[in-house]
Symmetry: C2
C-alpha cells in the first residue's frame, strides 16, 4: 500500500506517477526507462508512466504522486491507500506494430487502439508512432473504421432537430475566420449551428482565439445544448465538452509534432462532428501554392475520401473547393480578425469584401441544406440576413448568452511594412504572413497580429504601407522585426 | 530573470522544465500543449519541454524548475539567474516530415537530426516519429548516413592496438549469454575485447544483468581503457561511457516502444561499435520461427546491408547466420545464466554443451581476425584456451578488476513444470520461455528465471520435469504461475 498524493503538475496528455527512489514497497532503483504502471484503489485502474523522485520533496518513500491529469482520473482524495502493478505495453500496440509493418488493420484493431488511447495506456510516443504509421499507408475503409472508433459512444443529442449544421475549413488561411459570420447568418436563419472548436495549433491564432476576444467560450455540454436550442448558434471551446476524448489526445500529439496528415485528419474531423451531433457538414478545401492542398487533383482526391467516409457514417457532407492562394480579410490575429467580423456584421463601408463574400457563399450553401429553401436561393437569403442586421442581432445574442467580454487592446508596439518599389502586387505569401503573425505573438496575445492594407492586383508606389504589425511585448516584437529586416515582406511586387 | 531550481525527478530521456502557472515573468496560463523552451544563462542553451505547476510546492512564481536530466546539463547551481525563450520545433523536424512523406534524406539531413536529438531538441514523440518514418522506407545509403551521424565525434582511442574485437548477437535467444565466455577466451588469447553494453530491453534479462551478478559494471571510460589494455577484456554498462549520446536516446525510445527495426538497429549497432573503437566485429544472426529473423532469405538480406554499411564505415565485419530456433544453455535469467557460464569456464561435467560449443565457434571466428593465426585454427585455439583454464583465469582477472560481487540467491519461490504425456520433445518455444522468464521477474531480479532441464529431441515420460521456475516475490510468481496454468508449457511433445 502506498499513500496517494497530488503533484500539481500539468503535463499535457500523459499520466505521470512519481515514486520515491527508495520506495518502501516497490523496488524502482533499477528502472532505467519509461515504465508503465496501473494504479488500483479507485473505481477503475488508472494507467500512468513512472518517474523517479530522488528526494522527499516530491513524494516520500511511502507515497505515490500523481500529476494533475492522473490524479483527477483516480477520483480519490490525497491520503487514500492505493496499490500499483507494473503493466505491459497496451495489447493494441501489437496492431500498431502491424500497421508500421505496412498491414491493413481491422475495425476491431482500430476500436482497441482508440480504447487504449482513451484509457491513457498510450504514451505520446506510442500515439506518434501510430500516427506516422498510418501516414505511410491507410485505406479509405481504415479511415472509416478509425473515424467510427474515434467517434465513440458519447454523442450530443439534439432531440428533434432535423438539421444540425456546421462548417469546417481544412486549412489555416490568414484572416479566414468566417466561421463566426457563418454561424451568425445560419443562426439568424434558424438552423442550429453548434461550433465546438479545439484550441488552435501553434500557428497563428484560431477561431477560438478570435471568439475569445468577444465572449466567454468555456461552456459545458448542458449549457451548450440550452444555448443552441434557444439561440441557434454557439462557438465554444471543445475542452469542457466531453466527447471524442481519444481523438483529442491524438490531435494534441498531431499538433505538437506537425504530424497531421490529411487522411487521418478526415477521420478526426468526421468523428468529432458526428459526436457533436452534426447532421449536415460543409467542408471547405482551399487550394493554393502555399496551402495544405496545392493542386485541384489533390483536392478532388481528398473530397472523394471525405464523401466516401461521410456517406458511410451517415453524415450529410457537402465539400467545396476554394481559392487558398491569398490571405482573406485584413486582420490576422484575434483582435484584428474580430474587428473585421464585426465590421461585416454591422455592414460597415470599410469591411473587407473578400471575407464577406466568402462567408455569404458558405452560409448560403449551408442554408441550402434546408429542403424548404428553393435551390440556388441560399446566397441571396444569407445576403439579406446580413444586410437586414438579423445576422448581427443573432450574433449579439450568442455573445450575450455565452458572456460578452471586453475587447482586448491592440498591441502597443507597431511597425509599418512598406512597398520597396513601384509596381503591382502579384502575390501575397500566406505562409509568410502566418509566420509573421505568429512571431508577432498572435498565438499568445489577442492584441498581436498583422493588419493587411493591400491586396493582390493592386498598384503600389514605393513607400506605401503594405501591412502593419502589432505586438504586445518586446520579445515578440524583436522576433517579427528581425524577420522583416531580413529583407522579405511576403509581398511580390512586379 | 527567473531563479533556477532543481526538481529532483528523473524522467528518462526528456528534459522537463517546471514553471509556475502565475509565473512572474512569462505568461503561461494559456499554454495547452507541449511547449519547447530554451533556457539561457549557462555555458550553452539547454532545451526543455514545459510543464505547468499549479501551486508553490514544485516551483514558486519566480522560479524555473528543471528535472534531473536538464538541471545537470545546465551546469549551474540552484539559485542561479536564468532567462528563457520559447523555441520553435527543431529545424531538422522538417526533414523528419519529409521522411514521413516517403522521401530519401541526405547525409546533411541525418547529421542535423542526430545533432538536434543529442541537444535534447526532440521530444520522445519526435524521436518515435523519426523511427517509424524510417521503418516504412530507408535505403542502404541512408542507413550509412544515419550510422555515420550516430557515431559522432567521440570515439574511444585504443592507441596502437591493431585489432579491437567484439561480438554481437542481433536477437534475444533465451539463455544465450555467450558474450561473457567469448570475452574470456578472446582476452586469454590476448586480443582486446571491450564490451560496452546497453541495459537490456524489457524482455527477460540482458548480458549486463548476467554480468552484474558477477562483478561491478559501472565503469567510466578512463577506467575501461586502463582495464582493457591490461586485462584484454571488459564487460561494462554503456551508461558511464560517453559515446553515441543520440543513439542511446533513440535506442531508449525504440525499446520502450518495441519500435526497433532491423535496418535502423544496424545503423545503431555499427555506430556504437565504431564509437567504441572496435575494428573487427563478429555479428551473429540467429534464424528461427520464433526469432526476429524467420528465414535464411531475410538473414542474407540483413547480412548484405551490414556488409555494405560496415565496409563503407571502414569496419571489418564478419557476419554469421546461426540456428535461433531453440533456447541455448540451461538457465534463463541473470543468476542462472551466470551459473552456466562459470560451469563452462571451469570445464564442469554438467556444463551445457550447446552453449559451450556456440561460444567456442564464435570465439574461434574472432581469433581468426588475427592475421597471425593459421586459417581454420580459431576453434581449436579457443577450445584449448578454455580447456587449459586460461579463459577462466582471464575472466577471473576481468571480474576482479571490475570488482567482484557476491552471487545473488536464486528466487525462493519455485515451481516445476512437468511433461503432461510421454513422447519426444519436438520443439521448445523460445518466445514462450522468454515470456515466462520475464513474468517470473528475470528482468527485475537477478535470482529469478527459468532453469531448463530438457532439450529438443529428448524422450520424456509424463511427469518428468521440463524446467523449474524461480521467482523472488509473490507478485511475479503469481504472474508466471497463471501463465503456466493456462495449460501451455512452451514444450511440444509428440
Amino acid at each position: 500500500m502506498l499513500v496517494l498524493k497530488h503533484v500539481p503538475v500539468r503535463s499535457f496528455n500523459e499520466n505521470i506517477a512519481y515514486i520515491h527512489k527508495d520506495c518502501s514497497i516497490y523496488k524502482v532503483s533499477n528502472i532505467k526507462s519509461l515504465t508503465r504502471i496501473e494504479i488500483h484503489g479507485g473505481e477503475k485502474p488508472v494507467f500512468a508512466f513512472l518517474q523517479i523522485a530522488d528526494n522527499n520533496k516530491i513524494v516520500r518513500p511511502d507515497e505515490l504522486g500523481l500529476n494533475t491529469e492522473a490524479f483527477s482520473q483516480m477520483g480519490l482524495p490525497e491520503g487514500a491507500e492505493i496499490t500499483l502493478t507494473l503493466t505491459p505495453p497496451a495489447p493494441s500496440l501489437s496492431a500498431v506494430r502491424r500497421k508500421i509493418a505496412g498491414n491493413v488493420l481491422s475495425e476491431n484493431d482500430y476500436a482497441a487502439i482508440v480504447n487504449d488511447i482513451s484509457e491513457h495506456r498510450y504514451s505520446n510516443m506510442d500515439i506518434a508512432s501510430f500516427l506516422v504509421a498510418m501516414n505511410s499507408f491507410i485505406t479509405p475503409n481504415e479511415i472509416l473504421d478509425l473515424a467510427e472508433a474515434l467517434r465513440g459512444d458519447k454523442i450530443i443529442d439534439w432531440g428533434t432537430e432535423e438539421i444540425v449544421a456546421d462548417y469546417h475549413c481544412i486549412d489555416d488561411i490568414p484572416g479566414n475566420k468566417i466561421d463566426l459570420i457563418i454561424t451568425a447568418i445560419v443562426a439568424a436563419y434558424g438552423l442550429p449551428m453548434p461550433k465546438i472548436v479545439s484550441s488552435s495549433s501553434s500557428s497563428g491564432s484560431g477561431i477560438l482565439d478570435t471568439m475569445k476576444t468577444l465572449a466567454n467560450v468555456n461552456i459545458d455540454t448542458r449549457t451548450l445544448k440550452k444555448q443552441v436550442l434557444e439561440r441557434r448558434g454557439a462557438i465554444v471551446d471543445a475542452e469542457k465538452i466531453e466527447i471524442c476524448e481519444a481523438e483529442r489526445m491524438i490531435s494534441k500529439v498531431e499538433k505538437q509534432n506537425g504530424l497531421s496528415t490529411l487522411e487521418c485528419s478526415i477521420a478526426s474531423l468526421l468523428a468529432n462532428k458526428m459526436a457533436s451531433g452534426i447532421t449536415h457538414l460543409l467542408i471547405d478545401i482551399p487550394v493554393g501554392i502555399r496551402a495544405k492542398i496545392k493542386t485541384s487533383a489533390e483536392a478532388t482526391h481528398l473530397r472523394k475520401i471525405i464523401e466516401y467516409v461521410g456517406d458511410r457514417l451517415g453524415l450529410n457532407v457537402d465539400v467545396t473547393i476554394t481559392d487558398g492562394s491569398e490571405p482573406i480579410g485584413s486582420g490576422v490575429g484575434p483582435a484584428l480578425e474580430a474587428r473585421d467580423i464585426i465590421k461585416i456584421l454591422k455592414n460597415k463601408e470599410d469591411a473587407p469584401d473578400d471575407l464577406k463574400e466568402k462567408a455569404l457563399f458558405m452560409a448560403g450553401r449551408i442554408l441550402e441544406f434546408d429542403g424548404k429553401l428553393r435551390g440556388g436561393q441560399g446566397y441571396l437569403v444569407a445576403k439579406e440576413l446580413l444586410k437586414s442586421g438579423k445576422a448581427f442581432d443573432a450574433f449579439e445574442m450568442i455573445l450575450k448568452t455565452q458572456g460578452k467580454v471586453e475587447a482586448p487592446q491592440l498591441g502597443h508596439l507597431t511597425r509599418d511594412v512598406v512597398a520597396d518599389k513601384d509596381g503591382t502586387i502579384s502575390r501575397i505569401n500566406t505562409s509568410f504572413i502566418n509566420k509573421a503573425a505568429t512571431l508577432a505573438g498572435a498565438g499568445q496575445y489577442a492584441g498581436a497580429g498583422i493588419d493587411i492594407f493591400r491586396k493582390s492586383g493592386e498598384s503600389v508606389t514605393a513607400g506605401d504601407i503594405l501591412y502593419r504589425i502589432y505586438s504586445c511585448n518586446q520579445n515578440d516584437f524583436a522576433f517579427v522585426t528581425s524577420l522583416i529586416e531580413s529583407g522579405k515582406t511576403g509581398f511580390d511586387i512586379e
